[in-house]
């Protein structure tokens, strides 16, 4: 390309530059010419080619990416080729915001998500928790309604690493947007799935968060037989998460039926957590114990809604 007609534009930080980056001559050249093109808003092949050079030097420069998109449209460039290009760049720099945004724009222009799930799966095979990858994946699935094989994908990832919190999140994402959790058969299937994963790997916050998450708005103590299963698991597959789940189950029960017995059970678990099982959060579990006592104990102020004033009437004072 001929560049001699263009006057390069240097960066100007004034007399006292701050956080100045010391660029090589090559780097400075590329960007000085880029700035010149930008100023003239030049729409040409040489401009398009230069954006690739600029991106190679600094793929985080969002102005370069924007300008490249302007050129892609103005020059009616081959977007399939652009997909190949951005695929390669993301493989090299999978934690860069700009590259993922660019890919999204190209997919939108093409209205073609057909490569996305496989591509993202490849990125996730290198880092199964890459937030950008999961974000892009959720966007593609929701935008183009590609729900059909996602639960299967999630299960595969959970088989590889049952502690992958991103995969558990995706599980919730898929189910809540497809079957939902209202169907008791689905809810029970999920509860059983959780219990199975807990038996295999008890020390796993993710599975307990998921279990609690899908039940908490219906009431943790509402799922028949669950409390008993958890109490069984407490003997052989205990964890701080199991015990926290227990405390929350007891608190849920106290909301509708405030008894000293239940409150004592909750207090016992808080004490166990504070003293033995989750000592790093000792002060928190003690605080929680005090809160429970104050909310449900003998000195508790009467609660405002009807259900709990009935409960207050039933309350057994120790």
């Amino acid at each position: 390309f001929e560049w001699s007609d263009l006057e390069p534009v240097p960066q100007d930080d004034g007399p006292n530059p701050v956080v100045k980056i010391a660029y090589s001559e090559k780097f400075t050249d590329v960007f000085d010419y880029f700035r010149a093109l930008l100023k003239n808003d030049e729409k040409s092949e040489r401009a398009f080619t230069l954006t690739a050079e600029a991106i190679e030097l600094n793929a985080a420069n969002y102005t370069v990416w924007h300008y490249r998109r302007v050129l892609l449209q103005a020059l009616e460039k081959d977007l399939r080729q652009e997909m190949r290009y951005i695929t390669a760049i993301i493989e090299e720099q999978p934690k860069n915001y700009q590259v993922w945004h660019h890919r999204r724009m190209v997919v939108e222009w093409l209205s073609d998500p057909s490569e996305e799930l496989e591509f993202i799966a490849d990125i996730l095979s290198q880092d199964a928790k890459n937030y950008h990858a999961w974000q892009h994946r959720q966007w593609v699935i929701q935008e183009y309604k590609l729900w059909d094989s996602e639960l299967e994908f999630v299960e595969r990832l959970l088989e590889e690493d049952v502690r992958n919190n991103s995969a558990w999140n995706q599980r919730h994402f898929v189910i809540s947007h497809t079957t939902g959790y209202s169907d008791p058969a689905i809810l029970d299937r999920e509860v059983q799935y959780c219990l199975c994963q807990i038996r295999k790997a008890p020390h796993n916050e993710s599975v307990w968060n998921y279990l609690k998450g899908i039940l908490q708005d219906r009431g943790l103590s509402s799922h028949p037989g669950l409390l008993e299963r958890v109490l069984e698991l407490k003997e052989t597959q205990c964890s701080p998460y199991l015990l926290a789940f227990l405390v929350d189950s007891y608190e849920d029960a106290l909301e509708t039926n405030n008894t000293r017995a239940t409150l004592n059970q909750a207090q016992e678990v808080c004490a166990l957590l504070a003293q033995v099982k989750d000592t790093i959060r000792r002060e928190y579990w003690l605080f929680l114990g005090r809160s429970l006592e104050s909310k449900y104990g003998p000195t508790a102020a009467p609660q405002s809604d009807a259900a709990s004033s009935d409960a207050a009437d039933q309350q057994e004072l120790s």
């Binding site: 930080d13 004034g14 991103s166 809540s176």
Partner: protein
């Protein structure tokens, strides 16, 4: 009561190269002077390997300046020069005000406009502000003691408003970008500092925040996304700045967020369940816990020991993990994490606005003066 400053080493179990467990001693003394020098150097010249930071240089300036402020060491820099340079990054309205929706602050001079720290704005097809730069630009001016009188507030707020989407979240730039909780926080800080919420639709932003609450009671970057310590901070701090925390979230919801946050402590803190700890989360999660009044129930010793284990004893600063390279972001948030813990030589940090309490008080005085001016004119 043990004075923790007397204990300079703690025994730590480590894996030897042969694969058996050995005991090492970790030094946990805080090297204040090293960190001052680390930030001073960051403000000077950075090697080419930092080129990816070009468009975000103003955020690096913020980390260094606010870091020096937390260290009570701002006297080492030339504040006036710094203020001039920051103002040169303001995207001001052109004569015909045709670029109002693109106003704010730039991250650096990378676009190539000639240096100018006063208006009017220069027309350029691709010159526009970036929401995170407007936020850190204003915060930096504030902590340097500037009175923001050269900030075109109307332009900044017009530029900000143009960035908000229908779903309540914000773009970073008017040309378009990704949108998520980070930029809601930036927007909230901007409106808070300028004492003017006309720059955003608060109701829509709050709805976006609520929709980003996860099944596990943490908050993600957006609806359906995995809950994360960074986005949880952005959400809670934004609500606090809006003055809407207690009215948006029920006591039960607040308790659930408290629980999610407090479970992030492993030694230091991580950002998501089953991920490794990282120094910066001592601030993101720590500050959130402080905003929710339960930071007092965390384990201070383990948190402090972790942060100090990531301290670079040679060059200063902090890294995300021990034996890793320090960078301005982790140096700053490591310091803020220690400040939350009450580290003696550090200034207190406002957990929502992320500037020292001193800078915050300066802001309050400024805003009082603005209100007095308004009422004396009417």
């Amino acid at each position: 009561m043990l004075d923790r400053n007397i204990i300079l080493v703690i025994p730590v179990a480590k894996m030897s190269e042969e694969g058996n467990q050995i005991e090492e001693f970790e030094q946990i003394d805080f090297l204040k002077d090293r960190h001052v020098r680390f930030f001073q150097r960051s403000l000077q010249v950075l090697p080419e390997r930092y080129s990816s930071l070009e468009t975000t240089r103003l955020t690096i300036v913020f980390f260094a300046l606010s870091g020096l402020d937390v260290l009570d060491a701002l006297h080492v820099i030339d504040k006036d020069n710094m203020i001039e340079w920051i103002y040169s990054l303001q995207v001001l309205p052109t004569e015909d005000e045709s670029n109002m929706q693109r106003c704010g602050f730039r991250g650096s001079s990378h676009i190539g406009l000639p240096y100018s720290s006063k208006g009017p704005g220069m027309a350029h097809p691709y010159d526009s502000g970036h929401i995170a730069m407007t936020y850190t630009g204003l915060a930096s001016l504030l902590l340097l003691g500037d009175d923001l009188s050269r900030v075109n507030k109307r332009a900044c707020l017009t530029g900000l408003k143009a960035l908000q989407l229908e779903d309540g979240s914000f773009y970073a730039v008017p040309e378009g970008s990704e949108n998520d909780m980070r930029f809601i926080y930036c927007a909230a800080c901007i409106c808070y500092m300028l004492d003017d919420w006309s720059g955003m639709d608060i109701h829509k932003a709050i709805e976006y925040i609520r929709r980003s609450m996860s099944y596990d009671n943490g908050i993600g970057q957006g609806a359906g996304l995995e809950s994360h310590g960074g986005s949880t901070f952005c959400a809670v701090a934004s609500l606090r700045l809006m003055g809407r925390l207690e009215e948006t979230l029920s006591e039960r919801e607040l308790d659930r967020i408290r629980r999610w946050c407090i479970m992030r402590q492993q030694t230091g803190f991580h950002g998501r369940p089953n991920k490794p700890v990282d120094t910066c989360y001592s601030f993101w999660v720590g500050a959130t816990l402080e905003l929710l009044d339960v930071f007092q129930y965390t384990n201070y010793e383990k948190n402090r020991n972790y942060i100090l284990s990531t301290q670079d004893r040679l060059v200063g600063g902090f890294a995300k993990w021990p034996d890793s390279h320090p960078d301005p972001l982790h140096a700053y948030f490591g310091l803020c994490g220690l400040s939350l813990l009450g580290e003696p030589e550090l200034m207190k940090v406002h957990p929502a606005l992320n500037v020292t309490q001193r800078a915050f008080q300066h802001l309050q005085q400024l805003q009082q003066a603005w209100r007095d001016n308004v009422s004396s004119c009417t």
